[in-house]
Symmetry: C2
Subunit: 205 residues, 2 copies
């Protein structure tokens, strides 16, 4: 296998699940972190397939899209379903977690401050508790996991970006949801991940 | 195999790729179309896993998320990659097409008309041509397909919702992009799809 190069910014957010899965599987990779606010990103952005990160480079080909990359690495490290129906369960909750992220992104990246505030209000008041209550129920039913009652890449996907979600929300979202927090605890208690969390670059989200 | 029930509204949009894949594979299914504006949806919405459609029901279990369902059916009808790397190529472009959809959704479903217009402007002016030029290049390189130079479920995913994208944009988006239009022609020229397009319920998008 040729070396894998993962390019993102120096944050966890959308690439951390990929990094953690690679560490979980003991797969070597180049953990490239571009400076988001410097000339590095200005020069790199037009070279990326759709002007976005993260990207995965393997065999000389650069591929974008964090969820697609996460699924691809999950197959390598065998944290996928045992059949197509199980993979559907994982894919479905991953896309739902990604929808949840999209709710925050719908206001967070709006430049106009008054529009941003107008959009943010209903998200935090109605949408967030709606999703979190359902996530809490699902993670309870699945014993501290998001799907199949066991560890899958859906857990990694959530754990990798849970701090990013809190950052966009401007608060700790998971305080009142012990079973969602258990997903984080479960992933962080895996020895390879524990080591990674202790040694990875320290970033806010 | 127990009967598949696909529930959505009486539009193509996010479910049409799934319907077309089922028709392509000759798989029987219940094509349930809930009345979006009547009491039917008011009663159905709270019963859906995350209050959204489409959902797939199989073996008595209801699963949401259109992309996840489309991928699941694509595996059944063998319009997926031949290996994990090929599946990554398909997944990556599907998520990019879905991002493109999200750009329209970012303003289309905002209730406040002035906010809606303020958000819509930059999307139509900058974001849309950026994506369409890249899609045109990709579909040219792939001989009228979105990935792997051959028919895959990525084509179905795009074709199923291309009218929905035009509806949200308020115009024909693909007039100046012959290779993108070729994807639609290629899918619509498949005999099983041709029959389906002629006999399916007529809807605006």
């Amino acid at each position: 296998m040729s070396e894998i190069k993962l390019t993102y910014f120096n944050v966890k957010a959308l690439a951390e699940a990929i990094r953690m899965l690679l560490k979980y599987g003991g797969i070597e990779f180049a953990d490239v972190r571009a400076d988001r606010w410097g000339t590095e990103w200005v020069e790199l952005k037009p070279k990326m397939p759709f002007g976005q990160l993260p990207t995965l480079e393997e065999n000389g080909k650069v591929v974008p899209q964090s969820v697609a990359i996460t699924r691809y690495i999950a197959k390598k490290v065998k944290l996928v379903g045992n059949n197509e129906w199980e993979d559907l369960q994982i894919d479905s909750i991953v896309d739902t977690i990604n929808d949840f992220r999209g709710k925050f992104a719908s206001y967070f990246y709006v430049n106009d401050e008054s529009i941003k505030e107008a959009l943010k209000g209903p998200v935090l008041k109605d949408v967030v508790p709606y999703y979190l209550e359902k996530f809490e129920k699902i993670t309870k039913e699945n014993n501290g996991h998001f799907a199949l009652g066991r560890l899958t890449w859906a857990d990694f996907y959530f754990v990798g970006m849970h701090e990013y979600l809190c950052d966009m929300a401007g608060k700790n979202l998971f305080e009142d949801y012990p079973n969602i927090r258990k997903v984080v605890e479960n992933v962080y208690s895996i020895p390879a991940i524990k080591t990674w969390v202790e040694t990875r670059p320290q970033t806010e989200f």
